[in-house]
Amino acid sequence: MYQVEASKALLKPRLWARQSSRLRVPRNVIMLGAVSLLTDISSEMVATVLPMYLVFSLGASPLAFGAIDGTYRGAAALVQVLSGFTSDRWRRHKEVAGLGYGLSALGKVALVAAGNTIGGVGAIVAVDRVGKGIRTAPRDALISLSSAKDRLATSFGVHRAMDSVGAMLGPLIAFGILLLAPARFDAVFVVSTLFAVLGLAVLFLNVEGKPRRAPREGAPPRFSAALALLKDRSFAPLLLAAAGLSIASVSDALIYVGLQRTIDFEPAVFPLLYVMTAVSFMALAIPVGQLADRVGKVPVLLAGHALLFVVYGVLLMTSVGYLALAVCLVALGGYFASTEGVLTALAGALLPEKLQASGIGILITVVSLGRLVSSLAFGALWFAIGLQSAVLVFVAALGLAMAVAAPLLFRAQRIAPNG
């Protein structure tokens, strides 16, 4: 059983200590990674079976699931900024993150207790999304505040790798349970709830809420100080660069759709696209983080975006074999490994200690807005001038964004203390 292996492996103190010393990652980061791993197992278990549950047990149309899934994603952006600032203001990153994890855990409990109507499931999914929005910024601030500035990228790499292990294990555990007990979705929800509770327990019992870099004295920051980050001499260029780069990056979902139009692969191969990208990401997140700490976060961030040229190149090929497909997916995983976590690490290094969560919240929001613009633009271009030409436009846009972002990022790093 995966459940047994995962929990035991993660909760054995000796193993932690060994890993920590070899990688020199703070214990708090490993603990936060364990929290995310357990929480991701919990959420992905539910996400995997929810469509089937709605259709086979509640008799819903799959359309209803699409509506449930899509409706609440927009709400998360605003919540991120507010929860980030609130946790800085109260100096309670752990508690605010705990509220987010707690809401998601409550959602799982509610699914066991009252998930037998479509409206009820919709409300529960909404609560889960809000919980995710609340916890991300304070959690990342805690990772940042737990790490020395020259070890930030490794810390984020370790956290993101653990997080994605959870995302891979969740569906496997859910499928395992349904194989043992066919159609017993309640068993999936119960086990999911237990994982969520364990994640919450690790957070409250083992995560230090005031890590080494956490501000302990001085006045609590005002909202105006958080807003002033938007014109901060080192953080504003970072935001600008992040916005440009995210607009020029085609989302992975669109890349999969594009690949699918180009290659006539067996339908059974399709889920493997996600798996292969995820495995590549998992394998690369930690070494890439270490590399970023050694040679600098900005060069790694730029090199990561350059990997997208490989992906775009494969999309431009008229006939794609399985080798090109594999290269494309490994590059995509490498792109993820060397961008999101490294960017957050860079922000963590630039931001003042008392505004870590606010700044990270703003950054996440800017990046997700950039991705939305990117998706809409790519969709519109595909419609207007076709897939190949749309990819060509994005090749040019990415080149331009990198040319603009590189000086901005290097400047941000130079101005910041100990960047």
Binding site: L11, G70, L180, F270, G386, L387
Partner: protein, 330 residues
């Protein structure tokens, strides 16, 4: 921190393991609920000549759904053997049964012969939605819903995949998403292209009609399997279904901006359409009993209504869905 917290956590892990494993084992050893049998209830007074294949539905226990019954002379007869289908179709000696794979967590389509014996099988990448077979049994088409694919993150965004299969060999011929589309004579393509609801032209199995959804429109497309191409005919047509003589198409017409539909019938020659007497929202790919009569499922009961807009909907079979007209028996 300290060892106290470690002990609490250790105890909690133990409790969670016990509760989780205990619950799963209890669920696995729980009563097997597959002992009773769903059976469609035929209203024999209506259309005694109706000869159909249907999918049985048990309103009390969804796990028993999907057995294949033959409705003939006002009686229901179990036909399926091991087949359990979410959607079924049959014509020209070949059938498609879209259902849950033995793993219980994936979907598959089985191609079956006139004895309802599975001869080929292929994996499906999402929920079974629509199945059709050409009148000569040469080609089949399956549509599935794919989740986790709502790339533009728009509310109610969903995705479909429609695959054409050679029913003799079991080989996949192609996916409609990869065929070329023209509109007003010009190439037409967009990221949000979705195809569903294939209906084959009787007597010419290479030609078909289907729905192309993109940017809020639902186009009726006419396609050619050999040429791997389609052209857009008109807007506002979902789940088309050709009459046996190939002259009319019954389709779902969306009530503007909603997930509700009305059934309408269009003339293939002129593309002009009219309403039928059914006023409830029907979400089905309608079947033709003959050139004048429609049969469709509404809330897991089958109803008939005249295609020319006259008359009233009439209940035909209770607890059944996925109706298939059987021309010469099976």
């Amino acid at each position: 921190m300290g060892s106290r917290n470690g002990k609490i956590l250790f105890a909690l892990v133990g409790v969670c393991l016990l509760v989780g494993a205990g619950y799963v084992v209890a669920a696995a050893l729980g009563p097997d609920e597959t002992t009773t049998e769903a059976r469609p209830q035929v209203d024999g007074a209506v259309l005694a000549h109706a000869h159909l294949m249907v999918r049985a539905v048990d309103p009390a226990n969804p796990r028993l759904n999907g057995r294949v019954y033959e409705i003939d002379g006002g009686k229901a007869r179990r036909r399926s053997g091991d087949l359990a289908c979410e959607r079924v179709y049959f014509a020209g000696g070949r059938g498609i049964c879209m259902g849950v794979a033995p793993s219980g967590v994936d979907y598959r389509a089985q191609i079956f012969d006139s004895q309802l014996r599975p001869v080929h099988e292929f994996a499906l990448t999402g929920f079974p939605s629509r199945a059709r077979v050409s009148s000569d049994g040469r080609y089949g088409a399956t549509t599935v819903f794919v989740s986790g694919d709502s790339y533009l993150q728009a509310p109610s965004a969903f995705s479909t995949r429609t695959v054409i299969v050679d029913l003799r060999s079991g080989e996949r011929v192609g996916q409609l998403e990869q065929f070329d589309v023209t509109k007003d004579g010009k190439p037409f393509d967009a990221v949000d292209f979705n195809f569903w609801g294939v209906t084959f032209v009787p007597g010419d199995s290479s030609r078909y009609y289907a729905t192309l959804g993109t940017g809020g429109s639902h186009y009726l497309v006419e396609g050619d399997i050999a040429a791997r191409s389609m052209r857009v005919l008109r807007d506002g047509v979902e789940c088309p279904s050709l009459s046996p003589d190939g002259e009319q198409i019954v389709f779902k017409s969306r009530v503007a901006g909603s997930e509700r539909w009305r059934l309408r019938v269009l003339d293939v020659e002129t593309l002009a359409d009219h309403a039928v007497a059914e006023t409830r929202s029907v979400d089905d790919q309608v079947e033709w009993l003959d050139n004048e009569t429609l049969v469709y499922s509404y809330e897991d009961d089958l109803y008939t209504v005249p295609a020319d807009g006259s008359g009233e909907p009439q209940l035909l079979v209770r607890d059944a869905s996925s109706p298939v007209r059987l021309d010469r028996g099976i």
